[in-house]
Symmetry: C2
Subunit: 202 residues, 2 copies
Amino acid sequence: MENGTSKQRILEHAYQLGGLYGLESVTIGQLAEQLGMSKAGVYGHFGSKQALQLEVIRYARAVFLRDVIQPAEAQPAGVPRLWAMCNILVSYSAGTGLHGGDFWVTVFHEYGSRSGAVRDAVERTFSGWLQRLEQLIATAVELRQLVPCDPAQLAFEIQALLNAGGHVFRLCQDPKAPERGQGAIRQRLETLRGPAFPALNE
Amino acid sequence: MENGTSKQRILEHAYQLGGLYGLESVTIGQLAEQLGMSKAGVYGHFGSKQALQLEVIRYARAVFLRDVIQPAEAQPAGVPRLWAMCNILVSYSAGTGLHGGDFWVTVFHEYGSRSGAVRDAVERTFSGWLQRLEQLIATAVELRQLVPCDPAQLAFEIQALLNAGGHVFRLCQDPKAPERGQGAIRQRLETLRGPAFPALNE
DNA sequence: CCTACCGATCGGTAGG
DNA sequence: CCTACCGATCGGTAGG
């Protein structure tokens, strides 16, 4: 992610195409042509299409960590960090170009009914994301920012609303969609308001 | 949908495959082989792959109307009909095999970033579904089953939670996922409870 | 990293 | 509905 080697250029481009059209429909010939390389030049960096797909997933995880998880960790644990993460993702979805969140919205759905190593990696990423949300919620409950509730249930709801915001934004070209997701999450958090509930900025 | 002509068999099979792997990855050769026909035999019913895709979408709309919309219309307008529709969709998602709701969860996301006639048909279907939800909500407000609220916002949330239930059910093989969506919708409706709020069965 | 190639499959066509 | 075929593209390989 940090350098401009040819392999990084391939991964970045495959990441962009994968987020637009799905990771299964990224082809080696297409990457080669659009990057001004030969097919064998692209292929040689990975050794199989599946290895390329798995490396794109690794790459996308690193982007998500860098652009979403880590910035949010500048905020205090619990609701502030959870809310910051939601805001960052909403900004991503509402951005004009191709951004990180959309890769995962596309790929999470693309592999829902498939099987194999790529699907397994996608599912691990999704489950890890849900678990991270659950931990933030559990911490928020411990800190009495939220009243006792089922963290898995609330994490499911937050993920549903964030994904739908990005999805409806694209499918319907509706610029208000990500804010609808954000507003629904805010409303839900306020419903669960505990004695130490913090202000929700932005 | 009602007869077993060869064209109907093709559409039904393409509908099943499309819901599993996406409509773009359904191929004419694959359909021909799995149905015991020649490629030209399949192709001749449609004249182009795009025409086939558009007919599968028409077919899927008819299935959705028959299996979700019409059964729910046996219930009184407003919240009972809205809640019945949600319950039917949750049962669909939680069913063991391939069912109608999953086609749309897959295809709505598949065409988020594409363009062309198929994407346009998918978007019209999605917008029509959202509008139907909005109408039920607006009626529920008029009947004082719900307090005044933004129907477009609530429709967005319900759609997000239903889709996510089906999605997480498949990706994580989590049988509780559709019920999580259902529970979140129930909770949301009860938050908006008006003086004429009806009992939510099931 | 390249050229040149492999068998398989793609959407689509000709002709019956 | 079929066989037989078209050019293009697929993932992948050989050899350098």
